[in-house]
């Protein structure tokens, strides 16, 4: 009896694994999407705890701007054709607290990308991930689902303060750090700046050289278009701490 039970368990596990395999098999999604961890299985079960692996890492902050963009796209892509203004019609309501496929940002992201049975089309490959994230932010805002406000940087947490210096200061006007609101492409992408061996002109990428470069780049490379950045001492030290985390 016990061995029969074991065999059944194994069979079920194997089937479950196969199902899993099927779900993650390459589809017609663009390469960037098929390389990502996939979303919820297509079942009618409510998700239990959120699968953090299903949360893609390129999610932007849900700012008012992103939500407003999502609202525009919601009508532009005719989501309202089925979901009305969120109250639902042909498709389910989006402003109640019933979520067939989960209400986390990752859940909704995959629902839009993959589509869901009985009518929800797959938008993966048709609209950009950035647009999907805007839609996610807007849909979540309909039921007041918002991320908790970012923690106020604790006194002494120089990395968080440095991040703030970067995002709210002039750096973000020219540079990108993926995963933040800094998306400018005038200067180099600094997402992995701490992994660089050298800075401009072959200078070793050390704290001292980076400090000098930020404060007065023309001393190091007279032709550079990067302007001097007159930071207060504490801002500089915090910023250097933050940049050192970007490996």
């Amino acid at each position: 009896m016990r061995s029969t039970g074991l065999a059944v368990t194994l069979l079920i596990s194997a089937l479950a694994l196969m199902a899993c395999d099927y779900r993650t098999s390459p589809s017609n999604l663009p390469p960037a999407l098929s390389a990502m961890p996939r979303g919820n299985p297509v079942t009618e079960f409510q998700p239990g705890v959120e699968d953090s692996a299903a949360q893609p890492s390129n999610r932007p902050e849900e700012t008012e701007l992103v939500i407003a963009d999502g609202q525009r796209l919601y009508h532009h892509f005719n989501c309202s054709g089925c979901h009305a203004s969120g109250g639902g019609a042909i498709g389910p309501a989006l402003m109640d607290d019933e979520w067939i496929y989960g209400n986390s940002a990752g859940n909704i992201f995959w629902t839009i990308i993959e589509g869901r049975p009985q009518g929800m089309p797959a938008f993966g490959g048709r609209i950009s991930e950035e647009q999907v994230w805007s839609l996610v932010a807007y849909v979540r805002s309909l039921s007041n689902l918002k991320d908790p406000p970012p923690a106020v940087p604790a006194e002494g947490d120089s990395v968080l303060r440095g991040r703030q210096v970067f995002l709210e200061g002039p750096c973000s006007l020219c540079h990108t750090i993926r995963g933040t609101s800094a998306l400018a492409t005038v200067g180099p992408d600094l997402t992995h700046v701490a992994s660089r061996k050298t800075l401009v002109g072959g200078l070793p990428n050390t704290r001292g050289n980076l400090a000098g470069w930020i404060l007065n780049p023309q001393n190091i490379e007279p032709e550079t278009t990067m302007p001097p950045t007159p930071l207060a001492p504490q801002e500089l030290h915090d910023l250097l701490d933050y940049l050192a985390t970007l490996e």
Binding site: P204, G208, A211, N216, N219, L240
Partner: protein, 126 residues
């Protein structure tokens, strides 16, 4: 035989040279020197990035953020507050923000031996 062993011996030699030098030259010049390897210190100055902010002779960049360091050995004070001694120079190089919490100069995790060699290099700049 490792690099650190060699460099320890080298530093002993440098210490001896500097001490003897100081004994003989003490009455001739008031310029301070530190017991360290100035040639190694010169390479470290590029590595740590001193020259990104300071104008230093022979460096690839001539920074204008902090004060120029030619002749720093002849100054009376460091950082506007510390009497110019080799110990204070090393302390300032290694822990600037402990010396002056309001300074723009970053702590660069300079090791003790690197601090000594950097100080020796700076004191060699006439």
């Amino acid at each position: 035989m490792t690099f650190s062993t060699i460099s320890r011996h080298w530093n002993k030699a440098a210490l001896l040279t500097a001490t003897l030098g100081a004994l003989f030259a003490g009455c001739m010049s008031s310029t301070i020197s530190a017991a360290g390897d100035a040639a190694r210190g010169e390479k470290l100055a590029v590595q740590y990035g001193c020259a990104a902010c300071h104008a230093i002779p022979r460096m690839p960049t001539q920074g204008m953020v902090g004060p120029p360091l030619r002749g720093v050995g002849e100054r009376l004070y460091l950082a506007g507050r510390l009497p110019n001694t080799p110990e204070n120079m090393i302390r300032w190089i290694r822990f600037p923000r402990e010396v002056d919490p309001g300074t723009l100069m970053p702590n660069m995790d300079v090791t003790e031996i690197d601090g000594r060699d950097l100080a020796a290099f700076l004191y060699s700049l006439r």
